[in-house]
């Protein structure tokens, strides 16, 4: 309601400053009236003009009247003016003849829309690299060479081959597939994309694994040709190891030529192994793992908004404020800033939202509205009068099921007072009609036989609310997705099934009672646990949005790890930033900093938590609406390579300290060796610490700058300088830093010969062991999360096997935790560089602000409730995945105390596991009581008997 979605639109002009921009948006004609279109699809069926479908990358065709994809938002068709026969040649109008709602409007014109906004967020995304310029890969010449995005569509069940993987040449299922990594990334030779695209290694592994699900039988062979496998995200390394265990072949090589196979089917590839042998191998299909490029739109927008771009034409931002551009009030998010995977795009989008919200804090709520409904009328004591609305969904349902027959049948059912058949039950005019009928016929239960409640229940609930009925008096029978769509060849059986579905829905609806949505009042205060950069940034961002914030720090100093690191990945000095940040946090009127503090209890749920806090030995209580967990992480102490035995062996943080305090000493060294993955990616910590490769490379450059004569070696497993950090890797190699690849089976050996410190490693190119005498050995010690077991226990939230606090969803909710009202930021979630930490902290503040900006929250009404029959056996306690149930004392009418369960409405998600477990009807879920389910089952079996 508070979003104005302008599709087919582009920004053409902008003026003004932060707080007050004037923007001109050009909206291209859609030729279909969005108000009238009901997405029946007839226009596309009747449209005679076929063009390449850009959504499927031209692998199949669509018509000029089209919808982007089945689940598109808005779910409205459009006519492509450039190819439409009528619009280009003046004849046809087939769509107009068949459109059942007269939604086609060929008179539609381009419009200029003037908008006044306080801030702007730019997220134009990326462009997939086009490899047709690389003649040696034969893309577009050899049929069985596809890009990874095309392959994604080939795998998709909504793609051109409905998820049954076939190769383009002969439409047979490929049995051996090869992926070539870094096509259009990490290359300044054939293209100018010197950066790493960050996502291709992982998507290639994913495609390889998913391939097995899309092919028949066993024996499909997947091979990935790579330079370095960059699985640097949370649980990514497990995914990589899993792929290896499942037989995906990883070859460290870069095939230089692809030729067409026999009869132009399949491909032949030549590549050189690490030992120099030339291999020739045939594959049924080659997939080019294409990189992410900046878009032309990004360039156009940056010109329009006068933004700085970096040398690759991504938006230039500081590591300390990744969403801010050189212009106040203009923020960036997504791949426009640098290539990144979905979780980071989502996180940084939230952080951009936080920046915009803070800038416009004095106007919060000025332009937003919330919907109001008439007062609810009670139905207690009324005779049950069910209204059944059978939807035809254009021809979606009516084409298979005889809807008239279903409607006639529904009239014979008990309690049914009215039956109507609608062409489209969801259209705006039908909603109005439905509301009218409810009033006219005094209906008090509604059954909609149409599509899925997942997408449409809210719509019908709102219609009920408009008439003053409780929204939970509507029941849906899904006769489209669960019937018409799956029984297309058996219309008679489908009609019978539809009758069964309607009968079941009526039986259940007759027993429905009004349910009240719980309202929770929100305490407009936040608690932030952890006083490192993540915690401080989150606290500051919340306080800047006028929310009172309490910041807990277990030690006596704010700042955490940031004190020990010198520069960010872009080379910005951290110390001045840190000192400024601490100053702002400590002096902010809305922030209360509690040092030497820890949390000892946590009760309550989203909107209203209560905790006991120990500060300097004294205890106090705190009530708050949300909490941000930012307890941080630490560098581990290595247990190998003579660490602790020889003072010349140091960790990364110790090296940073030397850089600060003893540059002269560092400079004197003739040789420095770095060993990567010390304690990471092994059995104990099967994850990548993400930040060490960049740190080593950056440090190596620093040493070479200090003393160009120094011999610097980096012994690595995979160099993971993702994104534009790749520039550092290239620079280090140009400066003469020597990188030697080692495997976990042949780890480097560190020893002492007399006074000399020696490192022995097997060089895979020379095929010989190499011995290096070094003056200093730097170990890339693994990062681990600070212990958060007590917090996990108190808040009943979750951490993964490695001890990192878990987000609610690794892709789509990367800062929310599974417990509502809790958010996570920084190293305690996963190792990450400072810019990502700051973005995540700001994102946590943005997500928390969504809750804190409301005075009360309305929760869904489908929740568990305990009945009189509960005797406190607590069987349900163990099955509840949300820990919403607790065992309590209960004072019975006779004055005696019994045990009984209690359900916390804020924690319960209504999954029903408790109800299914309870042997005595002691706990039910609203809207799914035993009576209702029983009635449904009896109704289902009626026809059989």
């Amino acid at each position: 309601m508070n979003v104005n979605l302008l599709t087919l639109s582009e920004v053409v002009d902008v003026s003004g400053e932060i707080g007050n921009f004037s923007v001109k948006v050009k909206q291209h004609p859609r030729y279909i009236d969005m108000e009238k279109c009901i997405a029946c699809g007839l226009c596309a069926q009747k449209c005679p003009r076929k063009v390449d479908d850009e959504f499927n990358l031209g692998l199949n065709q669509r018509t000029s009247a089209y919808i982007k994809y089945g689940q598109a938002v808005p779910l409205k068709y459009a006519i492509d003016g450039e190819t439409c026969i009528y619009l280009t040649r003046g004849k046809c109008k087939a769509c107009e003849k068949f459109c059942p709602t007269s939604a086609i409007n060929f008179e539609d014109q381009e419009q200029i829309i003037d908008l006044q906004v306080g801030a702007v967020i730019l997220s134009p995304g990326f462009k997939p690299f086009d490899p047709s310029g690389f003649d040696f890969y034969g893309y577009r010449k050899i049929p069985d060479v596809v890009t990874s995005l095309e392959y994604e569509r080939l795998l998709s069940s909504s793609g051109p081959c409905m998820g049954h993987l076939v190769r383009p040449s002969d439409h047979k299922e490929p049995r051996s597939i090869a992926w070539i990594q870094c096509v259009g990334s990490r290359s300044t030779n054939r293209c100018e994309n010197g950066y790493c695209s960050s996502v291709c290694c992982m998507y290639a592994i994913k495609e390889a694994l998913v391939t097995a699900e899309h092919t028949s039988g066993d024996g499909v062979r997947q091979t990935i040709f790579y330079m370095d496998i960059r699985s640097h995200g949370k649980d990514f390394d497990r995914f990589y190891e899993d792929a290896k265990a499942k037989g995906v072949r990883f070859i460290k090589a870069r095939p230089h030529t692809i030729e067409a196979g026999k009869d132009n089917c399949g491909v032949t590839m030549r590549y050189a192994c690490e030992d120099g042998k030339i291999m020739i191998e045939n594959f049924d299909l080659a997939v080019l793992s294409i990189g992410l490029e900046p878009t032309a739109d990004g360039k156009r927008l940056s010109d329009l908004f006068q933004l700085n771009l970096n040398q690759y034409r991504f938006a230039k931002t500081s590591d300390f404020s990744p969403a801010c551009t050189n212009r106040p009030g203009i923020y960036v998010a997504g791949a426009f800033q640098t290539p990144k995977a979905i979780p980071r795009a989502v996180t940084e989008a939230s952080s951009a939202a936080q920046e915009a919200a803070t800038a416009l804090i004095h106007a919060r709520g000025d332009l937003t509205r919330s919907k109001t409904y008439p007062a609810e009328r009670g139905i207690e004591g009324q005779e049950v009068r069910v209204g059944v609305f059978v939807c035809s969904c254009g021809i979606n349902i009516a084409g298979i099921i005889n809807v008239d027959e279903v409607a006639r049948y529904a009239r014979t059912l008990p309690h049914v007072a009215l039956v109507e058949n609608n062409l489209f039950s969801c259209s705006a005019d039908t909603q109005e009609m439905m509301a009218k009928k409810i009033m006219e016929h005094s209906l008090n239960r509604i059954v909609i036989a149409a599509c899925t409640p997942r997408t449409h229940e809210t719509l019908f609930q709102e219609t009920l609310q408009e008439t003053g009925l409780n929204p939970y008096l509507v029941e849906m029978a899904n006769i489209r997705n669960q019937n018409a769509w799956v029984h297309q060849r058996e219309p008679e059986m489908a009609t019978r099934k539809a009758k069964d579905q309607v009968r079941m829905a009526v039986a259940k609806a007759a027993l429905s009672v009004p349910i009240e949505r719980t309202k929770v009042s929100v305490v407009p205060k936040a608690l932030v646990i952890g006083g490192g950069v993540a915690g401080m940034q989150a606290a500051l961002s919340l306080a800047d949005q006028n929310f009172q914030t309490v910041l807990l720090e277990k030690s006596d100093q704010l700042g955490g790890n940031a004190w020990k690191v010198n520069t960010t990945d872009q080379g910005e000095y951290i110390r001045p930033f840190l000192e400024k940040l601490i100053g702002r946090v400590e002096s902010h009127p809305a922030i209360e900093v509690l040092k030497n503090a820890r949390l000892t209890s946590a009760k309550g749920s989203v909107g209203s938590f209560t905790s006991e806090i120990q500060v300097n030995g004294a205890s106090r209580d705190l009530t708050y609406g949300v909490a941000v967990l930012a307890v941080g992480g630490r560098e581990t102490t290595p247990a190998e390579y003579l660490y602790g035995e020889d003072p010349r062996v140091v960790t990364h943080l110790e090296l940073d300290a030397l850089m600060r305090d003893d540059s002269a000493g560092l400079k004197k060294a003739k040789t420095t060796v770095f060993i990567q993955c010390v304690g990471s990616r092994d059995e104990r910590r099967p994850y990548c610490s993400r930040i060490c490769c960049t740190h080593s490379v950056k440090a190596a450059i620093h040493l070479k700058d200090l003393n160009p004569q120094m011999n610097v070696y980096v012994l690595y497993r995979d160099i993971r300088t993702y994104g534009e950090r790749e520039d550092l890797y290239r620079k280090a190699r140009d400066l003469g830093v020597i990188f030697i690849h080692y495997t976990p089976e042949q780890k480097p050996l560190v020893g002492r010969e007399g006074a000399d410190l020696t490192v022995e490693v097997f060089d895979p190119i020379l095929r010989l062991p190499v011995s290096i005498t070094t003056d200093r050995l730097v170990l890339a010690a693994a990062m681990e999360a600070n212990d958060s077991k007590d917090l996990v226990e108190l808040y009943k939230c979750a951490a993964n096997a490695d001890g990192f606090l878990n987000e609610a969803h690794p892709k789509l909710r990367p800062v929310d935790m599974a417990v509502d009202g809790l958010f996570v930021a920084g190293l305690c979630n996963y190792p990450k560089p400072l810019n990502e930490t700051i973005a995540q902290a700001k994102a946590a503040a943005a997500r928390a602000a969504v809750i804190l900006s409301q005075t009360e929250m309305t929760l869904d009404a489908i929740k568990s409730f305990v009945t009189d029959k509960c005797d406190g056996c607590a069987l349900c306690l163990d099955v509840c995945p949300y820990r919403a149930l607790t065992l309590t004392d209960y004072q019975a009418g006779d004055g005696r105390t019994h045990l009984r369960m209690a359900s916390d409405k804020a924690l319960c998600k209504g999954c029903g596991l408790c109800s299914a477990t309870c042997p005595k009807g002691g706990v039910y879920v609203h809207g799914f009581t035993m009576d209702q389910l029983r009635a449904q089952v009896i109704a289902a079996l009626e026809d059989v008997a």
Partner: protein, 149 residues
Amino acid sequence: MQVAIRVGRLAQKLGVHRNTITNWINSGKLQATATVGKKYLIDKNLFLIFCREHGISENILQELIEIGPASPTGDDAITPTFHPKPKEVPMSAKPIGSVLVVGGGIAGMQATLDLANSGYYVHLVEKTAGIGGAMAQLDKTFPTNDCAM
């Protein structure tokens, strides 16, 4: 004193695109006059003031003069010395409580939802007929193999 500077070389040193430098020059933010051979003449003092105002290391000028013309390949990476300091713009009496989001991919959608749910009206501008962006085209997402839809 006037010094001659190449836009490409300066852009490379600051780690920005050369059009950005051209924009600065055209908008008068960086005062320079065009001269022969794609070079610009800049007053040394004015340039130093510019550097100070924008948090750029003042050594840059020295480096630009000493090193001379740019190598055409630009093989060295970004020198990260450029800190664009946001100007302290006095905000108009009361800001407008709405935000424009350009691009309806996963990032644009997330920013839109966060703002709309915390008290700001959002105009979401999308180029194509529907939102969803590149993520909608993916079959599954790593590492959980969840459906991208």
